[in-house]
Subunit: 128 residues, 2 copies
């Protein structure tokens, strides 16, 4: 990793209030895209959105972004703007993502909300 | 946005060396996944990877993560681990992403490297 990337990563660690350790790097990104089963149902939309926002506050997560689709003119031909919610979670390591995946709150989130989505796609990414 | 998200976001702005402005938020994530045409061709793999790393240093980008796929046991059934490279760029605004998309270096990146990939998928996400 070049110095610039390191500085960026170290600062994002600090962003969550943790003191960066010498061996701590923001190496892991967990991208998830959800398609609501009934996207026009406001109660279901709000339930999933609120559950995602709440889940994003778990302390093992260094940075969380919950988003909705945008389709730009420039990238229109290659953009998937059909999803309902995007979730981008940054972890200090693959091990921290594993802690998150098996966390009781993550498992409870799935159990309580899985009936709301028709499709979910995960892309896990380790920093190169 | 709750205070915790704001603090995280403000800190990520600082991560790129900029002084956060009162109205500056990290609202926009540009996710891109590339599939190499010839993933076993090291020269082509390295050309695209180096080009992506170089592109990620443009100053309009607040945070860049260039990654490779990981498939966890937990999310195996819903994970797409077939891509070659992931790119996750954080922008302070949709306007900044637009600046990036039409930047001469981004256009040159596409012209010089588009023959290397068989598929590219973009998910643009505005913070909810």
């Amino acid at each position: 990793m070049d110095r610039r990337s390191f500085v960026k990563n170290a600062s994002v660690v600090a962003a969550a209030g943790a003191v960066p350790q010498a061996d701590e790097k923001l190496t892991f990104v967990h991208h998830v895209f959800f398609w609501l089963k009934n996207p026009k149902n406001k109660a279901e939309h709000d339930q999933l959105l609120n559950a995602l926002k709440s889940l994003g506050k778990l302390s093992v997560i260094k940075h969380a972004h919950i988003g909705k689709p945008v389709v730009t003119e420039f990238d229109k031909a290659v953009t998937d703007g059909t999803y309902s919610f995007s979730v981008m979670l940054v972890f200090a390591s693959a091990k921290d993502e594993q802690t998150y995946l098996v966390h009781p709150e993550h498992k409870a989130f799935i159990d309580k909300n899985k009936h709301l989505w028709s499709k979910v796609v995960v892309y896990d990414s380790q920093l190169i």
